[in-house]
């Protein structure tokens, strides 16, 4: 994994390893009975275990210009490539997934920039394990910092190669050529060639030279512009086909019979009556019971006809959660080496403060639930599914069915969002199991209740902070312990002279995993609320206090920009309050200011306005960056004010939108986004970091409005 080696020094180890992506390390949910007969079918009878040459590679070898080579058995050999076919069409192959972050557009832009052609000429081929090179997954804000530079280099190298070929054909010096309107044109415009005229009849595969020069950001004309979303028309006309919209010939619809609670085991099942219904296929394999039928009416009838008994153990509920997370925690699983001495720092302090903060489990609730269409063809499996990790899901499928990865193809249609919630392949495996038993393609779409119950959650956590501060506002000691929620952004850009920061893993009663920003939200919440409390303790302004405790110029810049746009320090109406918070994660900086009003009787919190200032280096697409930052802020409103998973005895009590409150139109306040464009810095990702600032800012705003210091997410003022 080459991209791992290119980590910017700003990125810490936690980013590289992302330990808290628990779902990636969990045991597989299913382990189906090993089927020797099928296994032998795969491995004997003259079946070559090589992936057949894909069309792409075959065409490349037949003779095109381009670069790259493909070997799926050594999948991380090459990260992406650009392919020019003999018709002069340009296609970019990347394993990245489009789920609303508009990476399809941004990556096309950086390639178009280097090739000096319009964005419309670039076709992005994404997230198909047979066609695109290996990619770890679309998470961790990695596409722009890691994938975009690779594609820029590939495109620049391709341009130089094509230029040289065109020059040869035209008998001019390469330096005399430019690309104008997708043609290679010489200095006096007397000679020109199209892309097709250069690529036709060629047979050339090249690798990017290490020293290829890319266009400096200041010279960008296509990248850096607000190019509209690629394929936008298909989304507004309903034409775009998500996984859940796909149909295959003879396809059945699937359902999984779920137990009434988590961690249940199957006692008995009577499926005879259901099996008697025409067209219905029932699968029983271990604790898995599923069915497939040709239409939803038959499916529903068959499901009703199945009688199942499950055994569910007693399990702790939400009421005991935080106590349990602390009790079951490990001494430490990372966070960083202590700096200085906490004892010395405390001794030097004028005032001390110890507080505890909590964050609830929350759900991603992507509007498109998990969905998969699975189809078997001579022991080869193709699955269309909305996942952020197509190659990871391919491995899961290969493992579940005891077949080589070369016999599994995972294709990800542009997906109805994920937010870190679609890393795993449960639904794909279930659909594939049903399809294998039925001998027909099967589509399985999880219900909203299934999505809320059988996926995974953002980890809940307890964070304890003890600190010391001088009356002049200098923080002298900082002890920070995060129990269970994770280590992301547990370190900060504050210059605390004495600090001890630790993450303690714990035993989570619910299945937990990645979520947009991971624990950066929890750690920023605890840190920034605590900073606010310290500022209050020494009677200092919240912005001034933060500026005093950091030397990081980029952090200062976003904080000052947010404060300025917000009008920080202006007098507020009675019953209102304002708060501000700032932070850094995954190469980008955020500061968020919020003003709230709190109803004196009901204590209902209303957001009055929000300012978020964000800096992620050089901006690739301003409108989509704006949209992304705004979306993160809006999503943050849910975690800050309402979202919480309630559970008892393995039952998720909030498994519907009518019981799980997410942000709506009426929750919106005016949101001002201030984007700082640093053309001198490499572009970082933007999908996650803007989510972290809102909750602490709102907590501080509620404090100013009511005097209540809320240290638990979601923030709910008490009535008394």
């Amino acid at each position: 994994m080459k991209e791992e080696l290119d980590l910017d020094p700003e990125f810490d180890l936690a980013l590289a390893l992302e330990l808290e992506r628990y779902e990636l390390f969990a045991d597989p949910r299913y382990n189906f009975t090993f089927n020797r007969r099928q296994f032998l079918k795969v491995f004997t009878g003259g079946i070559a275990l090589l992936v057949p040459m894909s069309n792409l590679l075959a065409q490349q070898e037949q003779g095109e210009s381009g670069r790259g080579r493909m070997d799926q058995r050594v999948p991380n050999d090459i990260g992406a490539w650009i392919y020019f076919d003999e018709k002069g069409e340009i296609a970019v192959y990347t394993g990245k997934v489009e789920l609303g972050q508009n990476i399809r557009t941004s990556l096309a832009q950086v390639v178009a920039e280097e090739l000096h052609v319009p964005v419309q000429m670039i076709r992005m081929v994404m997230a198909d394990t047979d066609l695109t090179p290996f990619d770890m997954g679309t998470f961790g804000s990695r596409s722009i910092p890691f994938m975009a530079p690779q594609l820029r280099k590939a495109a620049a190298a391709a341009r130089e190669t094509l230029m040289a070929l065109a020059a040869e054909q035209l008998k001019v010096a390469p330096a005399d050529l430019r690309i104008v309107n997708a043609r290679f044109v010489n200095g006096d415009a007397s000679k020109s060639l199209s892309f097709r005229e250069v690529t036709q009849g060629r047979k050339l595969v090249k690798e990017i030279p290490a020293d290829v020069a890319i266009t400096p950001v200041k010279d960008w004309t296509i990248a850096g512009q607000s190019v509209p979303k690629v394929g936008a028309r298909d989304f507004v006309t309903g034409v775009h086909s998500y996984t859940s919209d796909l149909k295959r010939a003879g396809m059945l619809l699937g359902r999984v019979v779920r137990p009434p609670a988590l961690n249940s085991t199957l006692v008995s099942a009577d499926t005879k009556a259901a099996e008697a219904i025409r067209g219905v296929n029932i699968v029983r394999d271990g604790d898995f019971i599923g069915l497939a039928a040709p239409d939803p009416q038959v499916l529903a009838r068959a499901e009703k006809a199945i009688a199942v008994h499950w055994k569910t153990p007693a399990q702790p509920g939400a009421a005991q959660l935080f106590e349990q997370l602390k009790r079951e925690s490990s001494p430490s699983r990372g966070g960083g080496r202590p700096v200085g001495s906490i004892a010395d720092g405390m001794a030097a302090a004028d005032k001390k403060l110890s507080q505890s903060y909590t964050v609830a489990y929350i759900a991603h609730a992507p509007l498109e639930p998990r969905a998969a269409v699975a189809e078997w063809n001579n022991n080869k499996l193709t699955v269309w599914t909305g996942t952020q990790r197509p190659f990871g899901v391919r491995s899961e499928l290969a493992e579940a069915f005891h077949i080589p990865e070369t016999h599994v193809r995972v294709i990800v249609p542009d997906t109805g969002s994920g937010y870190g919630g679609k890393h795993t392949g449960e639904c794909a495996i279930e659909a594939a199991r049903l399809a294998r038993a039925s001998g027909k393609p099967v589509k399985l779409v999880w219900t909203r209740e299934e999505e809320f119950t059988w996926a995974y959650f953002r980890p809940a956590g307890v964070i304890e902070v003890s600190s010391g501060v001088k009356n002049d506002g200098t923080v002298t000691a900082w002890e920070f312990h995060n129990y269970n929620s994770g280590a992301s952004a547990i370190q900060s850009k504050y210059a605390f002279p004495n600090q001890n920061i630790q993450f303690h893993s714990s035993k989570s009663p619910l299945r937990q995993g990645s979520y947009r920003g991971l624990a950066a939200t929890a750690n920023h919440f605890a840190r920034e609320v605590h900073m606010d409390e310290l500022a209050q303790l020494v009677g200092m302004d919240a912005v001034e206090f933060r500026l005093k405790n950091t030397q990081d110029q980029r952090l200062k810049a976003v904080l000052e920009a947010a404060a300025k746009s917000f009008g920080w320090g202006a007098k507020r109406q009675p019953g209102r309050g304002a708060g501000i918070a700032c932070g850094f994660e995954k190469g980008s900086y955020i500061a968020t200011a919020a003003e709230v009003s709190v109803d004196p009787k009901t204590k209902k919190v209303k957001l009055e306005r929000i300012v978020a200032s964000f800096e992620c280096g050089a901006i690739v697409n301003p409108v989509h960056l704006h949209n992304q930052v705004e979306g993160a802020v809006v999503q943050a409103i849910g975690g800050a004010l309402f979202e919480t998973i309630d559970f008892q005895n393995g039952q998720i009590l909030t498994a519907k939108f009518s019981r799980y409150r997410v942000p709506r139109f009426s929750d919106m306040a005016p949101i001002e986004i201030v984007l700082l464009d640093r053309k001198d810095l490499p572009s970082a990702g933007a999908g996650e970091t803007p989510i972290v600032g809102l909750a602490p800012a709102v907590s501080s705003a509620i404090f100013e409005a009511t005097g209540q210091r809320l240290r638990a997410l979601p923030l709910v003022p008490t009535l008394s």
Partner: protein, 159 residues
Amino acid sequence: MANITSLNVNGRKLPVNVDSQTSLLTVLRDFLSFMGTKYGCGESQCGACTVLVDGQMTRSCTMPVGKVASKQITTIEGLEKDGKLHPLQEAFIEADAMQCGYCTSGMIMAGVALLKKNPKPSRAEIVKHMDRNMCRCGTYLRIVKAIEIASGTSKEVRK
């Protein structure tokens, strides 16, 4: 239980044979292949399944098809006329009022229903009407802007 034998969708009478209690959403998607209308929750909470029934905003996931069998149903596929998008569809593109796009069909249908009965809605009226439509990507402010663009109450375009 009685079955229904046809449904009027986007100006065409289509044969279908389903139990009248089946949800309109299921009939549209699984029997008639109008896949632009989405499933999001099954309890009229998210609006992804919004269609028009005789011009009225309707959540198809909880609407028994028997109740609308004789009515005119319009789905997202029925908005485009002679290759020309509905002004609200154009406005969604202009305002970049989507990210993943999964809520977009329902948002546009809800917005079209609003503009039919109230061609110049105020911002408060837009919010009230649209409040049962969910966008998990958080593009609400852009959707409000798109409706304002389509209604002519906004001249400024978000960039």
